[in-house]
């Protein structure tokens, strides 16, 4: 008799061996496979729908690749464990959904402050609180940006298909290693659970980035050096570079300080390293925007509905296109602004009450109107809903 788990195994195994495998995968499976492919070797997590499959796949795959899976007592612990593991030089991740993401915020702040690379996957379900297990939502996009206290740098990516989940998972690790920041990968339940036929290229076709080690001898190492790029080289625990890591405000040596000049230097550098690299980090996909007069800004499964609405609207003669953020934070403000002379009307469909619509308004500085299409009832936004809004605003 084949157990359910064994069935999954045979379904999963070929991906790590074949080139350009054409496979039927869910977003959660693609995420797990991509993480393994780009060298993630430590996962700590706590079960929560709709993300649990990621933990299930990885508990099987990790030991097969010499890595470690551990089920922690809660999401606070999961976040702590991946930071600890990452400090030893191992690419680390966790996955969760809204309630667990709330618990992770404390140590996401630590990872931001102590500049420890790690990837946090949030497969969004309806909230607040226990909310809607398991129905889709996009209500955590602002929490991904501002969930932990204090001004802090963060990067968040949001795929809209299974294949893109694979690509953006690898990108999440790359950005995290390159800029020493926690990277949030925001899936919604539909992207996590939808099955799609995908062609997965061999990992050799991807750029895979690893953190930069220090080149200086240990006695000269400044773990939080104010480098030109804003990103200090990172030594791994156990490599002979003995240094101090703390969540307290610290100077270049890593030790706590109350010197206001040093505190300000640290906080500004943490933000500067992301600002300098903004164009490397931010990715948006322009779909039929060349002649568009109406622009849709949509992400995740709402972007899929938007594509269909655009197809039908175009047949009806509406010049509609979509600017889709693949990077959600930092926001695609410059990209939106670049269409300000051409597009006067914007529509933002999202499964929340307008969290990103507000960002679009800010990006436009009044140059154009922003119309919301929202849904918070656990149902997907459907193309007719967006189509009706297109007809209404024209």
């Amino acid at each position: 008799m084949t157990t359910r788990a064994e069935g999954r195994q045979s379904h999963l195994m070929p991906s790590t061996q074949t080139t350009k495998a054409v496979r039927l995968l869910t977003g959660n499976e693609a995420c797990a496979l991509a993480a393994i492919a780009c060298g993630m070797r430590f996962y700590a997590g706590y079960p929560i729908t709709p993300s649990s499959e990621i933990a299930e796949y990885l508990s099987r795959l990790l030991p097969q690749h010499g890595g470690v899976y551990i089920g922690m007592e809660d999401e606070i612990a999961s976040m702590g464990a991946i930071i600890g593991a990452s400090l030893t030089g191992v690419k680390s991740m966790t996955a969760t959904s809204g309630p667990g993401f709330s618990l992770m915020q404390e140590n996401i702040g630590f990872a931001s402050m102590a500049e420890v690379p790690c990837v946090v996957v949030n497969v969004m379900r309806g909230g607040p609180s226990t909310g809607l297990p398991t129905l889709p939502a996009q209500g955590d996009v602002m929490q991904a940006r501002w969930g932990t206290h204090g001004d802090h740098p963060i990067i968040a990516l949001t795929p809209y298909s299974v294949r893109e989940t694979y690509d953006l998972t690898i990108r999440a690790f790359n950005l995290s290693e390159k800029y020493r920041v926690p990277v949030i990968l925001l899936l919604d339940e539909t992207i996590g659970h939808v099955n799609e036929k995908v062609e997965i290229p061999d990992i050799s076709e991807y750029e895979v980035v690893n953190r930069t080690p220090p080149m200086c001898p240990p006695e000269e190492y400044l773990p939080y050096q104010h480098t030109e790029s804003g990103v200090p080289p990172m030594a791994n625990f156990g490599s002979g570079y003995r240094y101090h890591v703390t969540g307290l405000s610290h100077d270049e040596t890593g030790f706590q300080t109350n010197d206001s000049a040093e505190i300000e230097k640290l906080l500004l550098r943490l933000h500067r390293k992301i600002e300098i690299a903004r164009d490397d980090i931010v990715e948006a996909d322009a779909y039929r925007m060349d002649d568009a007069e109406i622009g849709i800004v949509a992400y995740g499964s709402s972007a899929r509905a938007s594509r269909e609405a655009i197809r039908v609207a175009r047949e009806e003669g509406f010049r509609v296109g979509m600017l889709r953020p693949k990077t959600l934070w930092p926001f695609i403000d410059k990209e939106i602004q670049s269409y300000a002379g051409q597009v006067r009307t914007w529509i933002v469909p999202e499964m929340n009450l307008g969290q990103i619509a507000h960002e679009v308004e800010c990006a436009l500085h009044g140059q154009g109107s922003v119309h919301r299409v929202n849904r918070v009832d656990g149902c997907l936004i459907e193309p007719p809903q967006i189509l009706a809004k297109i007809r209404e605003v024209c």
């Binding site: 195994q9 045979s10 195994m13 790590t16 061996q17 070797r41 430590f42 700590a44 795959l61 030991p63 097969q64 690749h65 010499g66 890595g67 470690v68 551990i70 922690m72 007592e73 809660d74 606070i76 612990a77 999961s78 976040m79 702590g80 464990a81 991946i82 930071i83 600890g84 593991a85 990452s86 400090l87 030893t88 030089g89 191992v90 680390s92 404390e106 140590n107 630590f110 625990f237 156990g238 490599s239 002979g240 003995r242 240094y243 101090h244 890591v245 703390t246 969540g247 307290l248 030790f255 706590q256």
Partner: protein
């Protein structure tokens, strides 16, 4: 021994108040490490938040000062990802048994190879003397101005019940015993807890009319009951005293070692993964 070899002396003087017991524990930890003979590069010292959690900053190891109560979660990640590192966790009664209580029992349950030195001074010292889960009933704190009315945790008992394979209690008065227990804890392949009763003259002593550090140390001497003697005493006779000694010292499968067996069975780096 040469303490300075293990210390980051440019970060001195320490933040601890005069008469604080934490410095005594720091020295005991360093003597134990020296005796066991660890290389500084292979030691990772992890802490949470509080007075005791400032210990790692003064030591010349791979040091990680984390969030309140979470030291054991970070330490678990370090140990699981890089089992060669000798991971030592320094914590306090509030850090480990209040905000970090869940992590404490789960780390003990896993019997993961961590050595935890828990400095129990019966109070939240760093925040100014609020009542903690080990503040004895009747004792005063800034948040128990009329005396605490709550039951306390038996910290060592908690670790034992949760599955720790080495559990011992001592005090800052018993410095030689303290060092030996930490040494044994380091040598144990599994979760080790060394609970050290310590004085906080500033935050616990003053409101309880016991502010003299020497007097507080003498209190430890007078109220410590070795386990061999305690076994023949009634609960009434033990009232107000604390039992010292090694409560648990046993062998059991260790978390990371057991996981390695799975990796060894499943991982075939040169060929395809096992099916």
């Amino acid at each position: 021994m040469d303490y300075e070899y293990y210390l980051r002396d440019k970060h001195f003087p320490v933040i601890w108040c005069p008469g604080c017991g934490i410095g005594i524990v720091l020295k005991a930890i360093l003597r134990a490490i020296d005796k066991v003979g660890y290389d500084k590069n292979e030691v990772c010292m992890v802490s949470g938040i509080g007075c005791s959690s400032r210990i790692p900053g003064y030591t010349d190891f791979n040091t990680l000062h984390t969030t309140h109560g979470r030291a054991l979660t970070f330490a678990t990640g370090v140990k699981m990802a890089k089992p060669d590192l000798k991971v030592i966790v320094v914590t306090g009664d509030g850090d480990a048994t209040a905000i970090g209580g869940n992590h404490f029992i789960h780390a003990a349950r896993r019997n993961i190879d961590l050595t935890v030195v828990l400095i129990n001074n019966y109070i939240y010292g760093m925040t100014g003397g609020q009542a903690s889960p080990t503040t004895p009933a009747g004792k005063r704190a800034t948040t128990a101005p009329f005396g605490s009315t709550e039951n306390v945790f038996n910290v060592s008992g908690l670790a034992e019940a949760a599955g720790a394979t080495f559990v011992a209690r001592t005090s800052t008065y018993h410095t030689v015993q303290c060092e030996k227990m930490i040494e044994k804890g380091l040598q144990n392949k599994g979760f080790s807890l060394i609970e050290v009763i310590a004085a906080c003259p500033t935050s616990f002593g003053r409101p309880n009319k016991q502010a003299d550090p020497v007097e507080m140390l003498m209190w430890q001497k007078d109220h410590a009951v070795p386990i061999t003697r305690a076994q023949n005493m009634t609960p009434e006779e033990l009232e107000g005293k604390f039992v010292t000694g090694i409560f648990v010292d046993r062998q059991a499968p260790e978390c990371r070692t057991e996981y390695q067996k799975i990796i060894d069975q499943q991982f075939h780096p040169k060929g395809a993964p096992a099916r």
